[in-house]
Amino acid sequence: MTIRILEPDVAAKIAAGEVVERPASIVKELVENAIDAGATRISIDLEAGGLTALRVTDNGGGIPRDELPLAFARHATSKIAAVDDLDHLHTLGFRGEALASIGAVAAVTLASRVPTAPSGSQITVTHAHAGPTTPIAMPPGTIITVRELFARIPARLKFMKSAQGEAAHCKDIIEHCALAYPEIAFTLQHDGRLGLRTSGDGDLLHAVAAVYDLKTAEQMVAISHGEPVGLVPDAPGSMTPIDHSPVVRGLTSRPAAFKSSRNHMQIFVNRRWVRSTPLTHAIEEAYHSLLLTGRHPISVVLITLDPALVDVNVHPAKTEVKFARDRQVYAAVQRAVRAAVLATTEAPSLSPQAFSLAMPQQVDAPEPQRDADAEVPYAPPPVVERPELAYVPPGGLRHAASANPAVAPTSQSTNAPPLWTPQDMHQVVRPTSPRSPVATPPPPPRLPALRVLGQVSQSYIITEGPDGVYLIDQHAAHERILLEKMVAQWRQQGVPSQGLLEPVVVELSPDTFTAVEERLTDLAAMAFAIDIFGPATILVRAVPAPLAAHALAEDLRDLLQELVGVESAGHGETWEEHVLANVACKAAIRAGQALSPDEQRALVRQLEQVDARHSCCHGRPTTVHLSLDALEREFGRR
């Protein structure tokens, strides 16, 4: 066989195949172009899943009449001019392939009007053959209509799914765009039916509500990490990160809300949707011990960082990225999500209908009181907390409380029962521990003050809070309290390092080895004594004393891998929790143990103080919330 250069149209079709796989790829390219053109309103109409026809309409900058034919030329783009521009890409597209490729496999009509022009112009390219440019009346913006997709490439057509399947793919694309660009109003219609509509008011929460539903949106908490240096501006073109460290924003679900698949962790890098297993893993790690296995969070994570530190030119579909400092990015994501999750105050709710009003009230209600408390110096715990052997009638304690001026309600409203005055809870000494040096999340809002009502089945404590009833699993709650206390103690006194009789030789994979090498000082701070012994081999001379039982080469390898792993960088608390989890579980009170009212109150007070109070070490919930709304609904009052 002789070697020969392919005919241009054959080459074009081959190249087009990479970019244009199915209607969804066209939608992606066209919508991204519209976003790059500065549109604030983009609508997408599909007929038969986009196989028959597909139209993208935007109100962006448009294309001048004389540039229209050029738009379909291969490697023609307005987005970059030189190679260096690739390092500071602010636009979604840049390859200059999209329109050319689409034009090679379909009949495309491009109509566009720049705002200054009196009228628009239109050009039709049918399977790579351009027609004449003709004037057309239209509002400013661009309308691209694609028909006869793959009509001349039966091989490709054969692999198309049903119209519904293709439409679903298109919807995924629009959902990603809607989440990344909450300031753009997206409308998706399929065969005349509305598929998705976002308001474009710039609020990510509203976008989530549109893409998922209201209930999901209400279960989301805001992620904020890194300096808010105005990196997510309104106009996509003006994103200029100042710092090199990644900024992480977005929304993530409370542990109470979850999905059974990993597909609901949406990650955007510089507003570009990406698929990244390590980043997905980083998000999941942030829910460590908060979600049971098989449950996955719903997250929209927006990462902003210097375009020079991201390489998006890995794949034509641009869903894969490479980071110059991947460890830093993963750590930032994990830290940000973890901080957001730990800051949630919401216990899993019993009745999903009741979400709507419960959430904001819960977060806001104790707030002013807490601020007032911050000014008050520590005072000994009030007398009410002292357990007494003698029987105290239920009303008795209450009287004692109001009789004591130290605990008499001072600033809160009169309708709050005296027993759960905020003073009660906030004066309990909190074993403050220096958190790991990297993660300093803002002090999480605490559980609202709860009034203990009693114990059910000698296993659950029923309490009343500002918004309904909270049911507490006594074993899970105690386990969590003990775990945090023990971890805090270790941190406070510093874990001593236990020398080994003979150093253990551990062989590591090259990347773990590099990571260990990089983080030797961190590991030394964790009480490891490690010498570099050879390429990919280390000598472990001492281990943290509590880990003495794991001083086996395989165990150490796993442990080190975990400690320095990219996903856990900057998240040095798991190993302690890991080691202590079983101890805490054994030390905690069991289900089936009767607790006196004083013991119940003490447990609830302590639970109010812990950081990750909503789940035990194994990820089961400690608290279930039955809101007043839910009660009212159940009783038909609403």
Binding site: W490, Q493, G499, L500, L501, A525, A548, A549, A551, D555
Partner: protein
């Protein structure tokens, strides 16, 4: 099989072999005992496939044979019978099992086919034998086996290393943080006995079944995969651990800067008192040992033990001691110290130290046969 024997002797034999009965196994026959008539003795055997114990009980034999019955049931029933003669005979109708009759009680215990019972190898002196006093062997086991690791993740550390060389028998056991080495004179044994690694768990069982006095013979199987211990009326066979033990001699410190001699009882009491504060998860079992030399014979040297628990408080105990060399401050896991103090009976204890980062050596005063090496902890 049919025979009579004394309830007390049978009961004692059953208790001995009971140490090798497997309590949890997927092989049902391992919960059984094998009873075989051997001359004018009843031979009881049990195995958990890790060790096997056999025991001879004098009997008046009327008819030979063998059978297997559930160990626990037979033992409990025989124990419940009063003193006197017990008669054991086969179940009628050819069913595997035993009829046990004592006084006016009788039980029919169903068993299994004796051919299902694992064959227990019987060794002789081919691979070299060592003869040792029972008491000495028991002491060697108790002073070393505790230092072995208990988790199976590190097989070689779960064993006690045994070596015969130049008429000395040495036992050594270590986990990754401490090492116990004990040796004894063993005249007349040849070096063919060599080295072997025997599970500490098996040795602990051996210590329980050894008679209080007399000698015990040790053999190695020709394949060097089993060891057998034979004393009056009882035999134990144990599987050996494959693998190379650490070069423990290299770990043993050759010199020291500070040498402390402490009364054992006073030290044991001080450790007991301070350990109350050290032995919690959060306090991490740490004891701080401060060695202060005496002043020209005017004041004695002292050893101070201190443990702190952030939650509950702290405790300090001081013991007078003869201190030779500079003072020192060193941290140990208190469990490692108390484990050793529990197995020595010498009136005085020697503690040899170099620096706070180097291993410490504990040994009974006045003997060169036992050393215990512990790695210190260091806080940063």
């Amino acid at each position: 099989m049919k025979f009579n024997c004394k309830q007390s002797e049978l009961s004692k034999g059953l208790a001995t072999v009971g140490h090798a009965v497997s309590t949890r196994s997927t092989l049902p026959v391992l919960a059984n005992l094998l009873l075989t008539i051997e001359g004018d003795h009843l031979r009881l055997s049990a195995t958990n496939l890790e060790i096997a114990i056999t025991c001879l009980v004098p009997a008046q034999v009327q008819e030979g044979g063998s059978t297997t019955v559930p160990a626990k049931l037979l033992t409990d029933f025989v124990n419940a019978l009063g003193p006197g003669e017990v008669e054991l005979s086969p179940l009628p109708g050819g069913i595997h099992g035993l009829r046990v009759r004592g006084g006016r009680s009788e039980a029919n215990i169903r068993g299994m086919d004796p051919s299902e019972f694992p064959v227990i190898q019987r060794l002789d002196g081919e691979g070299g034998a060592a003869i040792l006093d029972c008491g000495e062997l028991r002491s060697m086991i108790s002073q070393t086996a505790f230092a072995a690791a208990t988790d199976d993740a590190r097989p070689i550390f779960t064993g006690v290393f045994m070596r015969v060389r130049d008429s000395r028998l040495t036992f050594a056991a270590a986990d990754t943080f401490r090492l116990a080495v004990r040796s004894t004179e063993l005249p007349g044994v040849d070096n063919r006995f060599g080295e072997l690694l025997i599970p500490a768990r098996s040795l602990n069982e051996l210590a329980k079944v050894l008679p209080t006095e007399g000698n015990v013979e040790m053999f190695i199987s020709p394949a060097r995969n089993q060891a057998m211990f034979r004393a009056a009326g009882v035999e134990m066979t144990a599987n050996l651990i494959e693998g190379q033990f650490v070069n423990y001699e290299a770990i043993m410190p050759k010199s020291h800067q500070t040498r402390v001699v402490i009364p054992t009882t006073a030290m044991r009491d001080a450790v007991k008192r301070t350990s109350l504060f050290a032995r919690t998860e959060s306090a991490g079992n740490i004891v701080r040992i401060t060695v202060t030399p005496g002043n020209e014979g005017l004041t004695p040297g002292v050893v101070t033990l201190q443990a702190t628990n952030d939650e509950f408080g702290d405790a300090t105990s001081t013991v007078d001691a003869v201190v030779d060399g500079p003072g020192l401050d060193i941290l140990f896991n208190i469990k490692y110290v108390s484990d050793m103090l529990a197995v020595i009976d010498a009136p005085e204890l020697v503690l040899e130290l170099n620096t706070a980062q180097q291993p410490g050596v504990l040994k009974p005063q006045g003997t060169q046969t036992y050393s215990y090496i512990v790695m210190p902890l260091h806080s940063r």
